[in-house]
């Protein structure tokens, strides 16, 4: 199906079809119908009386449609079906021919809709009688071939995409001539002349940059006949006129057979299929209390039937019936009373295709489509040969378009799957699921405005979202037992929601500082920390230890979220506060001294305990990074998720790290460490390292 012929279609219309189509519309009956209704309203009070004056009226003349009107009616219906099902991907143009050629539309998207088509036909006006022999349809056909050599937007884009597939874009199309053809000779002449023109114009197109030669063209000759007369020339196809052309001759008669013939054509040209939804309960127009069942026929790409029809033919033969007057089959599926919650659940479907109703204005059709447009979903049931039933399709509207979804009807290979609780991590009970829920909401996706053409940056909004997500997960312990910081609940709000932002305002910096300060004062007051629900970690731990753990974790958290200078301010504030605690004289409270001393003492005790615990765990197979490698340690946290180090967050910080942090924070206060020395190994710093690196780089690239 690549490069489908149906991508581009040109209609060439004979604008001289003034002859009557033989289709009559009785106008007099409309007035009679009034008398009928008034008599009904008058009830039993002499229905004959109001009828009497009518007898004297002169009957209204019936009106007849011209062949041209029939043609335009049929073509608009053809286009309606195509554009409903393939908006934007199947293009149709029109060329009308009388004395001159009228090009009614282009390949542009804005031309590809019904209102626009109606307007251009209105501007064109009714068919003209230009006299015998003055009509040259070949001119129209040549113009149509030229139109086909113009690339559509998609073709242009693919052709100029500079990828390897660019040269392989095939240009196929279909030209449909609508006229009255009287003899087989005319057909032969059309075919031959068309082929010549095609070859010639292909040469012309190949010589230009902006036109595309046609790889294959399907010529359809539609012979429009008046109602009542028998067509003398039978339907005929020439599948291989040449390697680049196929041809088809079809009769189309005005009157009742016009619509079915048209459906045959459109189904064949666009590979569509028909589904009849049966048993739709509808209230009667006259009697609202009773309801009857109706059928509605829909068109959609035939692929929507693949799932049920491909396979064993005898199993599905009972589904198919022929439409009256048409030579295509329709698959009958039964309406199921819709469940109200269907749309919020995820239904498993293998495909979804747009549909259109065949008789769009009929009452049952518009009832069904309005029901769907209002957001209800309808399941369709397929009766099996065995008598059982299965939901095979679903009708649903998304954003104004109605789709038919194909459901899975056979046994699923995913049946009886193990529960998530039976796999790795399934027995852990203290995942931070509510917090993760908030993370999901904070990382929800929404459509961004289309980037202006040409201004498309290298990074799409979706890539932006990936960065967003990675910022939000920089430091994210997945279980409660691996964190102290995130067990604090409202006490650290809104710090954790602010720090993950890309940029933060001054006000937000203040808010963060307030969180830190209020934690400080909580500690000073000796307020108990909210105990973690599932936390063994809080158990048996002294309050001071708990605070200590929180501070350590908070520092780590802030260190990881240095996205902007404003973020750094929060960290600075933390550092200052930390030192304030560590600097007893600042407190001005005598107790603090002792507290501090005790705390520090506890720290050591506590840490030893933790160390022990940790050591035990490490013996049990946990990856533990040697604590003297600080840099790799933090790197590990960046790349590896907490689950790999289950005891991580709180206990993963070793005594040495704590101590070094403390030392460095103390040191950082009075004067900044000389950079070189802080990075030095064994107090020896290599100078001009970059020079060496650059040189190596250069060497490396030269070697390449």
């Amino acid at each position: 199906m690549s490069f489908p012929t149906s991508h581009k279609t040109v209609f060439v219309l004979d604008h001289t079809l003034t002859a009557s189509s033989g289709v009559k519309l009785e106008m007099d009956s409309f007035s009679k119908c009034r008398s009928g209704s008034t008599s009904g309203n008058n009830g039993s009070s002499g229905p004959q009386t109001p009828n009497q004056p009518q007898v004297s009226l002169i009957p209204l003349l019936p009106i007849t449609t011209s062949l041209w009107t029939c043609a335009v009616e049929a073509i608009t219906e053809y286009c309606r079906i195509v554009w409903d099902i393939f908006p934007g991907t199947r293009l149709i143009r029109f060329i009308a021919v009388d004395k001159t050629i009228h090009k009614l539309s282009s390949w542009n998207g804005e031309d590809q809709n019904l209102p626009n088509l109606m307007n251009s036909f209105m501007a064109l006006g009714p068919s003209k009688n230009i006299g015998v022999g003055k009509l040259d349809l070949m001119k129209g056909l040549r113009a149509a071939i030229e139109a086909l050599t113009e690339p559509s937007a998609v073709q242009h884009e693919k052709r100029t995409s500079l990828t390897e597939s660019a040269t392989k874009v095939l240009n196929k199309g279909r030209i449909i001539l609508v006229s009255k053809i009287n003899t087989e000779d005319e057909i032969r002449v059309f075919k031959e002349k068309f082929h010549e023109a095609l070859l010639h114009l292909n040469k012309v197109a190949a010589a230009t940059d902006n036109l595309m030669a046609i790889n294959h063209c399907d010529l359809v000759l539609l012979n429009l006949w008046p109602n009542g007369l028998a067509c003398t020339i039978p339907r005929h196809t020439w599948p291989d006129v040449s390697t680049i052309m196929s041809c088809e001759f079809t009769n189309m008669q005005g009157g009742v057979s016009l619509a079915p013939t048209l459906c045959n054509l459109v189904l064949k040209h666009y590979d569509l299929a028909s589904t009849t939804v049966t048993g739709i309960p509808m209230k009667e127009e006259q009697n609202a209390s009773s309801s009857a069942n109706y059928d509605v026929e829909l068109f959609h790409p035939s692929a929507a039937h693949t799932a049920i029809l491909r396979g064993i033919p005898s199993e599905t033969a009972h589904l198919k019936t022929y439409r009256e007057g048409a030579d295509y089959e329709t698959v009958t599926l039964k309406w199921c009373t819709p469940r109200s919650n269907a749309s919020i659940e995820l239904q498993h479907c293998s495909s979804a295709y747009r549909i259109t109703s065949v008789d769009v204005n009929s009452r049952p059709s518009s009832c069904l489509t309005n029901f769907l447009l209002n957001g209800r979903w309808v399941m369709l049931e397929m009766p099996r040969k065995s008598g059982s039933k299965v939901i095979s399709h679903m009708l649903a509207c998304h954003g104004g378009d109605i789709y038919i979804h194909t459901m899975y009807t056979s046994r699923s290979i995913l049946e009886d799957p193990p529960s998530i609780s039976e796999g790795c991590g399934g027995r852990v009970t203290d995942y931070r699921i509510p917090d993760f829920g908030e993370l999901l909401k904070a990382n929800r996706l929404a459509p961004y405005p289309e980037p202006a053409p040409g201004s498309e940056g290298p990074s799409t909004p979706l890539e932006g979202s990936r960065e967003h997500l990675s910022r939000h997960t920089k430091y994210w312990p997945i279980t409660l037992s691996s964190t102290s910081l995130f067990t604090l609940g409202s006490n650290i709000d809104p710090l954790t929601s602010i720090m993950v932002k890309e940029t933060i305002t001054d006000d937000e910096v203040v808010e963060c500082k307030q969180v830190i300060l209020s934690l400080m004062s909580m500690e000073a007051r000796g307020d108990p920390l909210p105990s973690p629900i599932a936390g063994q970690r809080g158990k048996g731990m002294k309050r001071e230890d708990q605070y200590k753990a929180v501070w350590t974790e908070l520092e780590q958290y802030l260190q990881m979220h240095l996205h902007s200078p404003a973020h750094e301010k929060v960290l600075e504030c933390f550092m200052e506060c930390h030192n304030k605690v560590a600097t007893p004289e600042y407190k001005g409270d005598d107790k603090v001294d002792i507290d501090q001393a005790l705390k520090e003492l506890d720290d050591y005790n506590y840490m030893t305990e933790r160390e022990k615990a940790e050591f035990n765990m490490a013996g049990g197979g946990t990856k533990h990074i040697p604590s003297d490698l600080i840099v790799p340690d933090s790197k590990r946290r960046h790349s590896a998720p907490p689950p790999l180090a289950p005891m991580g967050r709180s206990s993963g910080v070793s005594l040495l790290t704590l101590w070094e942090n403390k030392v460095s924070s103390v040191e950082s206060q009075p004067c900044y460490e000389f950079q070189g020395r802080s990075r030095a190994e064994g107090n020896i710093t290599k100078l001009y390292v970059n020079l060496q690196k650059d040189k190596e780089k250069e060497d490396g690239s030269r070697k390449k």
């Binding site: 009034r34 209105m122 960046h638």
Partner: protein, 513 residues
């Protein structure tokens, strides 16, 4: 992928390994091994692989000669298949067509036509006495297209033909082109022949090779920002290769699956999926762990439970998605996306599922281009609203479809009649229905002008004129005035302003409305 082991049980399978050259004395013991024993040996290797690595797969055993028989229908009980392999009888001649037909039938009945499957045809490298017939039916299948020949299978399937034969056997040489043709017909598959002489060892190697190329399980890493977990997908994702309108898509699933953001389940609106896969967390050692069913009180037993107690990001992700009723939009390959969500087969057991879309960014029309989705919180106005009451999805289409447009269709019987009747219904309720009357009138008038149907305008004018004369004496004076205005306007359609709609006449009576 469900797998059919299609085993040849023709008489020729009971040959010894050395059909060609009479064996040396010292290999006497080896030559007593029959080909069917080697076939069973090979099948057992395959089944053992399933037991070890693909616990959630299905396999079935079909034997064929001139008839086929389903010995084991699709099951996860691979031991049972191994048992059935030992009970295989020997029958008459090889008739591959029958065997393939049986496999196709069995798969269609069980899995329908949408599930990718594997057919492993184990035979002795001798297409058999039915060869000529097979060739003929293959030819006819090519020429007629819709014949009864089972290939290509009516479902996506790989056909691997495993030959229990010495590579240099003459009958293998004659059969091989035939096998090749079968695989070409099916589109996907391979012929496997032992390297070197036919021995238990070479057959084992051949089956190992088969497993490596066709039955290896997926192992990758699920990333969500800085969080990640090793996972496997069941069934293993298949590469996508299909023709789209303007390109041929060839893409396979990467070993990394990256979560890009989240969406409400209701907003994705049951998108069509190319395939679905269970996402199962792997242990640190890379094994898939299946803990014994959770029984109350009986934990802390067995080694498997240790894995259960090491936190996995998968479980957290599943819990979050389930709690918030959301899905995670994820990238699985170049230009290939899917959604992760919590899915429950029944009420009790829910699991993490991955639905892969068709590759491309423009695959779910109501979500727009996937690459154009970004973090909602960074938009000037969050489209979800402050209290989660609104949603930016589905994207509204720019142009309404005909069923939402009240479009004019007269090509079908009764279309025009009912449109005229509608005008008259409103005409009889003038002046109450003045607006509707003119709306319907203009709709028909516009269509008539577009269709070049000027006779209709004249005819309609006549009908309205008649209506005017038939107005009952008690009717509102405005009714007659509007009707007259309407039919006069209809008759003047060939004036310059014919594209202008007819507007209601302002009357002294209508001023009170």
């Amino acid at each position: 992928m469900p797998t059919v082991v299609l085993l040849d049980v023709s008489l020729s399978m009971s040959r010894g390994v050395d059909a060609v050259s009479p064996c040396q004395e010292e290999e006497d013991t080896e030559s007593q091994i029959l080909r069917k024993d080697l076939a069973v040996h090979g099948c057992n290797i395959l089944l053992d692989h399933f037991i070890q690595h693909c616990k959630l797969e299905f396999a079935s055993l079909i034997v064929f000669s001139s008839v086929y028989k389903v010995l084991m229908p699709f099951t996860r009980d691979f031991e049972a298949i191994k048992g059935a392999l030992n009970l295989v009888d020997e029958c008459d001649k090889t008739c591959i067509e029958v065997g393939l037909m049986g496999a196709a039938q069995h798969i269609l009945e069980e899995w329908g036509n949408g599930t990718p499957c594997q057919v492993v045809l184990v035979t002795d490298g001798n297409a058999g006495t039915g060869q000529h017939h097979l060739q003929k039916s293959m030819m006819s299948s090519h020429s007629r297209g819709a014949s009864q020949f089972p290939l290509p299978f009516p479902f996506p399937a790989k056909l691997n033909i495993v030959c229990i034969a010495n590579p240099n056997e003459p009958c293998l040489q004659t059969s091989k082109p035939l096998y090749q043709r079968l695989i070409e017909l099916n589109g996907e598959g391979d012929i496997l022949v032992p390297e070197g002489n036919l021995t238990k060892q070479s057959v084992s190697e051949m089956f190992e090779h088969l497993i490596k190329n066709n039955f290896s399980s997926y192992s990758g890493i699920l990333h969500c920002g800085s969080l990640s977990a090793p996972v496997t997908l069941s069934p293993p994702p298949q590469p996508y290769c299909r023709h789209h309108d303007f390109e041929i898509m060839r893409v396979s699933v990467d070993p990394t699956i990256t979560v890009l953001g989240f969406l409400n389940t209701g907003d994705v609106s049951s998108p069509p999926a190319f395939s679905r896969h269970l996402v199962l967390p792997l242990s640190a050692k890379g094994d898939m762990v299946m803990l014994p069913k959770a029984d109350a009180g009986s934990d802390d037993e067995g080694t498997g439970n240790d894995e259960g107690k090491i936190p996995s990001f998968c479980v957290l992700l599943h819990g979050g998605l389930k709690r918030e009723n959301m899905v995670a939009l994820s990238q699985v390959g170049e230009n290939w996306y899917g959604i992760l969500y919590s899915w429950a087969d029944n009420k009790k057991k829910s699991n993490l599922m991955l639905s892969l879309f068709v590759p491309g960014v423009d695959v779910i029309p109501w979500m727009g281009k996937l690459s154009n989705l970004g973090p909602a919180s960074q938009l000037p106005v969050n489209p979800y609203g402050p209290s989660d009451t609104s949603s930016p999805f589905p994207l509204k289409v720019h142009e309404k479809k005909s069923y939402a447009l009240n479009s004019v269709v007269w090509v079908r019987q009764g279309g025009l009649q009912s449109d005229i009747q509608k005008i008259l219904r409103h005409a009889r309720k003038l002046p109450d229905k003045t607006q509707s009357f003119y709306k319907e009138l203009n709709r028909v008038r516009k269509a008539a002008l577009a269709y070049g149907f000027s006779e209709l305008l004249e005819g309609l004018a006549n009908v309205l004129e008649r209506e005017c004369t038939l107005l009952p004496p008690i009717s509102h004076p405005d009714a007659a005035i509007q009707l007259q205005h309407a039919y006069e306007a209809l008759r003047s359609h060939d004036r310059k302003d014919s594209r202008q709609n007819i507007t209601p006449l302002k009357t002294t009576f209508s001023g009170n409305d």
